[in-house]
Amino acid sequence: MNRLYGPLDDVAGDAGHVEHPPRVGFFTDTSVCIGCKACEVACKEWNAVPEDGLDLLGMSFDNTGMLGADSWRHVAFVEQPRRTAHQDPAFAGLPTGPSGIPETAGAVEPRLEAAPRGGSELGTNPLPPGGPEPQELGMPGFSRPGDLTGPESRTDFRWLMASDVCKHCTHAGCLDVCPTGALFRTEFGTVVVQQDLCNGCGYCVSGCPYGVIDRRQHDGRANKCTLCYDRLGDGLEPACAKACPTDSIQFGELDELRERADRRLAQLHDLGVSEARLYGRDPDDGVGGDGAFFLLLDEPEVYGLPPDPHVPTRDAPSMWKRAGQAAAAFLLAGAAAFLAGGRR
């Protein structure tokens, strides 16, 4: 049956829906993402997700940081000193400096350590001050970057951009641990929080192996992507997919999306992009496959995704067994103590 772990063909049926529509999801092909963040904006607009601080995080063009209660789409920007396959060497004649990653990471990391939740509240609050002093970059000039050093200091580089979103797992850690029934499986096979039921216990926040769902400050309830449940009901595609100008975010029936992703992966491999890989597509993975899965051009952790997540429910039977053994030992110790002590 695989109700706790492993592949599950009919998630909506398993949740009790009869005669339900086919399971839907996202295929996010990051190889064509241009980092425009239209998905982030469209999501905020449609779902009335509140503003969460117009902050500059000081590490890249990404000023959202990560997914959270007030960021249901997050566009990651990764700058790397390498090329993508037969990438047009558009900068061959231009001087460019080395990747900024070590420097930017060095500026951000000490401030992350000082943040109350290690930075996972980002997208909600500005980072606390601290760490290295801001550097004077000078006034914007008319000379091109690297003009002064000449072409010998040029390096290859590429941008990786990826729009992250709730994965709508086959076995969803957040849904499994929710004690109120606020989180539920929709007839489309997606996972949604019912705001009128959530009491903000925060268990889902720790239950999610992807760090997606979070509790909204000043509201106290858990929030995350609903895969635009309201739009699905009216036969519309989610706002982010609608807004995506390059079709990096593709919405559709999950079975069809998986076939499409397999074809795209084969195409990229034929083109020599051997680093292309699918993430979350495999129904045999630790969460039974993601409803929202990705084509990535590097290892998942480079995008802030866990390389091999699993739903904690996988180990529920063994955990309860151990707890039962411990409980028996506890009761036995108590009974033995009084039997040995005798009556008074």
């Binding site: 925060g202 106290g220 390389p307 904690p312 180990d315 955990m319 151990r322 009761l331 009084f338 005798g342």
Partner: protein, 309 residues
């Protein structure tokens, strides 16, 4: 241990840090104390130890009330605490725990209230009924107490938090040991030496179990063991072990002949149990803040799977 090599997104965390505050750690202690004390109370009731029974019943109720306060006030929407009672969900340890705690609370609460009925009401029929029901209710609390003492380990381990998830095999034993040490320690603190013999045995077995289980847990952990050994959490856990060991020694050596020694041993056991809970809680929180504890073990698993055999 050399610094682990791994890649990440600008060093940012992969997981969300738990939104739970120190109140949840305080609950872990108070719930364990309530469970341990209720076992001592039922045993004292059945073996004719009235002073131990009375103090343990009241201690159990005190622990229970503190638990409820900590649990409800840590919610994002405390006024909706009763939404926990909408469903019974086997996949959610918090839901299972809610019902275990409800069953436990009814028995432990009623048994404690029976101890404090004012003298002038004792002749009334509700007081006489409560007096007769106190023993079965107290025993029912003791019967559900093992659930209260152990489910909190599953509550923490049933998460993606590496510092909690990866100790899932040992944590129940650490927590029931801690609960027994605090419940027995409370009995030693409050009851006369002559009556507290079984409380001493219970506390000593619990403290020894807690120390051994915690040692095994720490020893077995890989990379994430760092969060248990280092920094603030490391100091909390060292202090916990020292206090529990001192309480255990005092229980075995002096608590049977000295009232003051028994009280001091009881206090040491209670403090050791509390610090144990705070240490485990904080270790989990720390493990979410550094992506290394998520990425490195998972990357090793992937590489082991894809390596040519």
């Amino acid at each position: 241990m050399p610094e682990a090599e791994f890649r990440s997104y600008y060093g940012r965390p992969v997981l969300k840090a738990p939104v739970w505050e120190w109140k949840i750690a305080a609950y872990l202690f108070c719930g364990g104390l309530a469970a341990g004390a209720s076992v001592v109370a039922a045993g004292a009731d059945l073996t004719g130890r009235p002073a131990l029974r009375r103090s343990s019943r009241l201690g159990s109720l005190g622990g229970l009330l503190a638990s409820l306060y900590f649990l409800v006030s840590d919610l994002g929407r405390p006024a909706r605490f009763h939404h926990m009672l909408r469903v019974l969900k086997p996949t959610s340890p918090m839901s299972v725990g809610t019902w275990i705690l409800s069953a436990f609370g009814a028995g432990a609460g009623a048994a404690a209230v029976a101890e404090v009925v004012p003298r002038r009401w004792r002749g009334t029929w509700p007081a006489r009924l409560l007096g007769r029901l106190a023993r079965p209710l107290g025993v029912s609390a003791a019967a559900t107490a093992p659930g209260v003492a152990s489910y909190t380990a599953v509550l923490l381990s049933h998460t993606a938090v590496p510092g909690w998830n990866e100790v899932r095999d040992e944590l129940p034993f650490v927590f029931v040991g801690s609960a027994a040490a605090s419940g027995g320690g409370f009995g030693m603190l409050c009851a006369p030496v002559a009556e507290a013999g079984p409380a001493r045995v219970f506390a000593a077995v619990g403290a020894a179990g807690e120390i051994v289980a915690a040692r095994v847990m720490e020893h077995r952990l890989g990379l994430v063991g760092e969060v248990y050994r280092e920094g603030h959490v490391g100091r909390l856990r060292k202090a916990s072990e020292a206090l529990t060991a001192a309480g255990l020694a005092g229980t075995l050596l002096v608590a049977h002949r000295s009232r003051a020694g028994a009280a001091a041993s009881g206090i040491a056991l209670l403090a050791g149990s509390a610090l144990q809970r705070f240490g485990v809680f904080e270790a989990g929180v720390a493990s979410t803040k550094d992506p290394k504890y998520v990425v490195v073990p998972q990357r090793e698993r992937v590489d082991a799977r894809t390596a040519p055999s």
